[in-house]
Amino acid sequence: MVASSLKLQELIQEIREAKTQAQEREVIQKECAHIRASFRDGDPLHSHRQLAKLLYAHMLGYPAHFGQMECLKLIASPRFTDKRVGYLGAMLLLDERQDAHLLITNSIKNDLSQGIEAVQGLALCTLSAMGSAEMCRDLAPEVEKLLLQPSAYVRKKAVLTAVHMIRKVPELSDIFLPPCAQLLHERHHGVLLGTVTLITELCERSPAALKHFRKVVPQLVHTLRTLVVTGCSTEHSVSGVSDPFLQVQILRLLRILGRNHEESSETMNDLLAQVATNTDASRNAGSAVLFETVLTIMDIRSAAGLRVLAVNILGRFLLNSDRNIRYVALTSLLKLVQSDHSAVQRHRPTVVECLQEPDASLSRRALELSLALVNSSNVRTMTQELQGFLESCPPDLRADCASGILLAAERFAPTKRWHIDTILRVLTTAGTYVRDDAVANLIQLIGGAQELHAYSVRRLYSALAEDISQQPLVQVAAWCIGEYGDLLLEGTCEETEPLQVEEDMVLTLLERVLQSHMSLPATRGYALTALMKLSTRLHGDNNRICQVMSIYGSCQDVELQQRAVEYNALFRKYDHLRAAVLEKMPLVERGGPQVNEEAKESKEVAQLSEAAPVPTETQVRGPEDPWGKSMVQLPCPALTLLSSLQASKLLDLLDLLDGPSENAQHPPPLDPTPGDTLIHLLDLPCAPLPSAPIPNLKVYEREGLQLTLSFVRPPGTPTLLLITVTATNTSGGDVTHFICQVAVPKSFQLQLQAPSGDTVPAQGGLPMTQLLRILNPNKAPLRLKLRLTYDHFGQSVQEIFEVNNLPVETWQ
């Protein structure tokens, strides 16, 4: 078998001529077979050529592991060409995982001690590229000897091999520490560079070394100064800057040495200023040095003037036409903005310009930086520009931009109206990208700003009329229209142009939202509730709304169906409560009442153990004072409903229903959104009462306002007493803000349910009713203390009185 021994060039030629992947594979496989054969046969003259070909094949991606032993053989051979290829092969093919690599150790050791520079260089190179921990330990003393060799070529390689060794085996750093100081006095740049790297590595690894090397700071300073000041030695200059690589490396070392250390930082201050001013920034090399200088200034304890200088340099970078420099500047400014905020502020306009970059990573950094630079004085202009950016930016940045704008608006909004405007604008441009809680935040914001209700509802209405696809916008708009529909229809508002809105248009719009394919189920829920609320706000008849409700009573979506059925129930059975249930929400304080409701309702759940058809509000048991502490407060209807809503989540009302209900099998998953003042009206109170009727008792009368108590003892529960308080008004003036508080003696338990309203209209209008439930386990005589507060005829009245003459049947 004659193995044709191709030269490497010819092989490459052949491979290039192969037209297809398959052909190329063929050629290579044939050649590999030859190579394998020749390795077996041991052809010493040409083995290096074979190995070279094998390495080429390896570069192309074909398996070449069978060449490993050959590498070893070649390394051991005395000829330089063999050695070279062998070492190259070792670097490429062998790595720590292979068992064969340890075998090289011996060869390397021999080569290192030989004294031929080139060979030593090769060996060092290979050692640093793939030396494993064991190899390093074995060969450390050799390398150390080489550090002091007369030949600069070997020294520079030895130094860097030492770096590699220290990375692998940190304990060896002790060996390499002493020679460093001497090596620093080198004139040869290569060795100097290597030494500086070595010292950097040592300092990074151990604080002891750090202290040791602080002494050399003056030396380094001196070297760097000579570099900078004494023009360029042509040997090392790169486009006008003398040996930028060495400068950069020294600066990095100075950074590490000066971090958190006052003394060294002081020595460096002048030098850094000098470097910064002397270096020419128009070429890349100069920029590299300046950049490193800036980083160093930032890290050490430098003077304030120096820091400002650094920021200015970065600012100048930003104006540079080279993209890379701008990128680098933006990244560093981002790091700086926390510590040197005011200095960075000066460059704000330039940063904002960078938003327009076509490169995505640049514009992202510019965006982050701009968001960090927003403060109360520039918030208006910045938001303007950021919104312009939002409209044109690529989709992956939109979410960040939108949430950034919203956050900045929240922190620095000068007026509420501006805040609402900004959020509106963000929602219209990038609605789908905002975070989920933006909707809740906006609703809370609008709810809290009473003077802006009319304004916001108008803006939202017009926005909604144009476009119903942006879900967060639609949700907020639906909620607003529902709450403040009457303001919308009023027709005049100073802050926007007059907008004539008819009831029909509003209803049509909401219906459109309900039916649109683009609406999420949550959005539909909002729209449905809004429609319901409008039934009390609008003055027309409610047929249309009733219709919608009955249609949705059989909707597929469980949530919508539930709501629709409940609203139907409101229309049909409990019409008298509709106005109260759907009243406007009170002004919301941020983070206040919601929190309390949560805490209260968890207590509620524990107490609502009996068959309570309707969830109720808090009850307070007062141990000491029979009257005082057990006063039960009636919160406003809306908040009541909110808390009952949350309580209802925790009760499984299916078991508690005894009345018929159309929505049979479903869990009650109502989201407690702040805009949803829905009570779980599955079956309003009043269990049937067949027992002997107890006479009513009139307990209070003043100026036409009468308070009557009527009692019911349900047959099944002997300790339970239901009292209905009815307030009627026969006078000429309305009674408003009516609040009734009740207290009972210690052994009793009292539950107050929501009143039907807080206004008792004049001339015998709709009476106000309220239900009390009293548990009397001890069958003690019942007494009540009532406290009334209300406004009548323009005066506020407060009354406290006791009711002792309750009929015996109520408590026996």
């Binding site: 490459i12 570069m59 490169d359």
Partner: protein
């Protein structure tokens, strides 16, 4: 042609290389030369049909590496007189030597053209003899 200064398993190398090459090729002219890739930074430069990519960790100065790439190409230019990708392919081993001379175990050793090319010339002399 690739050189690793940290231990990376051989089969992972190919995967890494393909991914890196893909991300570099997909960048247009408009974008800057630095890419963030996993937890490294990639700095690349395109010269006609040749891409040179250097991967560094976070602490390195990107601009310095950028200059290094440029320096490397200049040295290649010098030794091959107007280098093209064919030259690199046919003289793989020489390119390796140059690279070894310039950077060792991940750090820059020598940036002076004259000094780098000296060993190469010695080598050529030995080969010819």
């Amino acid at each position: 042609l690739s050189k690793y200064y940290e231990h990376v398993e051989i089969n992972k190398r190919r995967l890494l290389e393909t991914e890196v090459i893909k991300s570099c090729l997909s960048r247009s002219n408009e974008q800057c030369s630095f890419i963030d890739y996993k937890d490294f930074k990639l700095i690349y430069q395109q010269y006609a049909a040749v891409f040179i990519v250097v991967g560094v960790n976070d602490t390195e100065n990107e601009m310095a590496i950028y200059k290094f790439i440029h320096n490397f190409v200049e040295v290649l230019d010098d030794s091959f007189s107007r280098v093209s990708e064919l030259d690199i392919m046919f003289n793989l081993d020489k390119v390796h030597i140059i690279l070894d001379e310039m950077s060792l175990s991940g750090c820059i050793v020598e940036t002076n053209w004259a000094r780098i090319l000296v060993p190469l010339q010695i080598l050529d002399k030995i080969l010819d003899s």
